[in-house]
Symmetry: C2
Subunit: 478 residues, 2 copies
Amino acid sequence: MADNKKMVEAITSMDEDFAKWYTDVVKKAELADYSSVRGCMIIRPYGFAIWENIQRILDTRFKELGHENVAMPMLIPESLLQREKDHVEGFAPEVAWVTHGGNEKLQERLCIRPTSETLFCEHYSHIIKSYRDLPKLYNQWCSVVRWEKTTRPFLRTMEFFWQEGHTMHETAEEAIHETEQMLNVYADFCEQSLAIPVIKGQKTDKEKFAGAEATYTIEAMMHDGKALQSGTSHYFGDGFARAFDIQFTGRGNRLEYPHQTSWGMSTRIIGAIIMTHGDDNGLVLPPAVAPIQVVVIPVAQHKEGVLEKASELCARLKKICRVKLDDSDNSPGWKYAEYEMKGVPLRLEIGPRDIENNQCVLVRRDNREKTVVSLDELEQKIPELLQGVHDGLYAKALQNRENRTFSASNMEEMVKVAGEQSGFIKAMWCGDLACEEALKEKAGVTSRCMPFQQEKISDVCVCCGKPAKAMVYWGKAY
Amino acid sequence: MADNKKMVEAITSMDEDFAKWYTDVVKKAELADYSSVRGCMIIRPYGFAIWENIQRILDTRFKELGHENVAMPMLIPESLLQREKDHVEGFAPEVAWVTHGGNEKLQERLCIRPTSETLFCEHYSHIIKSYRDLPKLYNQWCSVVRWEKTTRPFLRTMEFFWQEGHTMHETAEEAIHETEQMLNVYADFCEQSLAIPVIKGQKTDKEKFAGAEATYTIEAMMHDGKALQSGTSHYFGDGFARAFDIQFTGRGNRLEYPHQTSWGMSTRIIGAIIMTHGDDNGLVLPPAVAPIQVVVIPVAQHKEGVLEKASELCARLKKICRVKLDDSDNSPGWKYAEYEMKGVPLRLEIGPRDIENNQCVLVRRDNREKTVVSLDELEQKIPELLQGVHDGLYAKALQNRENRTFSASNMEEMVKVAGEQSGFIKAMWCGDLACEEALKEKAGVTSRCMPFQQEKISDVCVCCGKPAKAMVYWGKAY
């Protein structure tokens, strides 16, 4: 077990330096690497396999709900980006500009898409003519570029991968329903596939998407108490439609503007997985998206029959889970540490004595609980234990959030709690930008969301004391 | 049938104007649309669904052969692009340059990747240390940008989608084996999934990839006799490895350079599908990649029980194929034309009399052959007929290629054949660039490939009369 210890010592402990722990895990679990382009990362095979699993689950769900995938250009002419006023103000300062093609200077600059509302709107203006053409339910999987000052793998990178849904509807009601529906898809995905509990709510005007009428969000809490915005869904009304002259002949035979939404989830969510479930031994992956769900590790593999049995088990388990046999020359202890680092949910140990007794040992990654299982019962026990890992991770994350959720009913309390604790702080708000900014300045917190599930902490705004309009979750965020 | 005729008239006939026919099909089958960025296209849902089917089949095959997906940045610093001399000479004239991030001018220009050898090599220089780290078998699905002067949807666009495999091997033999293996994967895919016969061969030095030692290619013949390069696989030797200082400790404990390959197939292949199989009624899709394999069209759908039966059939057929029911108000004739335009391989017609007789009519898209089938036998007959469509398409394409393959043994013959015919011309070549250029100038043909399956047309070069080194396929190409 000596080298096991060595591996573990190689990561910074979470309590000592959470930021360093995070980059250690990203690097040692081989999720991502730095590239020669500042702020752009290389997503390595193990990290990309997680993203592929995320894509598969979300894409299936989108398609079940009638959405279709398309591909828009990655470049946007400057004049097109400028068409919607709030939008260009929000994004122009952070885009990458293409000015030359080969040796020639372009007549008009093109930016690499930071998001694609403008491109979708231009296309929609060509293809939406009648109410019969609605709804349009499009999505694309791509990468986008935003010129960020400071970056961290997965959490904030200049180029990041995401999906962006863009839909057009006949009525405001339908568009609002879509906005809510897609937020629920994201929330269900986080809770059911990633074991991450989230709070659903609406962003304040200050925090909403550039050009949107309303932005809905799911907010997750990381192990250290900071918030991570994990998915957003925007309702645009007909603002972009007016700016892009998208009109259709309605049922009443009059020209109308359609109502629009967009919604996205990105590779940030991999950062959320790391920081919600990880521990001092490395990554801990929720089974639904783990590239390897069960790793088979032979013990005393030089002994006759051990490798054969391990290999036979692996072939058999392929039918029910993503399984890998590690028959390399490394010691079992080294392998245990390696796959703990990589967050594999279940480890199956099998040695000569196990084979004699027609059994093996299954070890859960989340709590290291060992179960001795008859080889005849694996098809039943493995799904149960994987579900157990999922449930355990969810319960632990929820407990962390509950332990770190506070409330404040006046500014003194707010400053005190925000200074002493890291977590969510529930407090009432009058709706004024001035109070939101004062909270940022005095307590160092930003509004995470106005949760759909409101509570009444008091009658008045935590900042100005005027009548409150909503309860807000406040906190520090990634 | 009046509106059926109207639809058909809306496309230019192939024989009248093949180029116009092509763009008509792209547009009317709703595969792609133009965008406001010159040379960039929008891939619409129906076109993108074809690409998703292509991706799924190829990706599964790549993974079976041990390849792993990764994601590299889309931007390359100018200094990195310049590291390998031949490579930068080939690509620098046709890249898009990012010069500004937000409002700041960059210290070093970044290009949008035209291909990613340089990025992979830099990453490999960090992660390959020992022969134990080899082979590295990486692939990525992405889009790349090349600043083309003239563009056509799918065939040549400034931004196009592709996969690019990049692998590193311990020995030259292993790398050459990989190069050949991946060319075979592409050839098998074209023949078995797309019903497109291809010729496998090697590119001449003039036509090979910038920086490669050897480029292997598969060449397909379009309906009009022109060639389309449908996939390429490159062997690099250790040229890039030396330029990027990639060294590993070999089995003999000495530092060695690894041997490299790359290989790619792009959205061009959708252009190949259109131009190989299409006809005057529109697109004809090979069943393996068709988004809809069977369209169910109710006849006299207002009659009692018709829609119910059609819908019941559709639900049943979902288990064995990609099926769609069109229960819209359009007439059956309109629908027939619509799904012929969209290239759906099989049409299932069902009306009141069919229901009475427990049967339906299946119509093949490729030859319009009708088969009356008992409803009890659909699970057996539909796969048979889909296979029939595939085989029919392949045979027709092969026949076209055979009809349009000629040979020439001297320059006079070459000029005559190239002037009178559109197709492949087999002729011997001495290996000199001067002769290759003379053939381009005098006969207007370029070398497509030196096929692996060589034939002896004569002993001497078709151009200079000196001893021949290889038989070459010459032709005009997209």
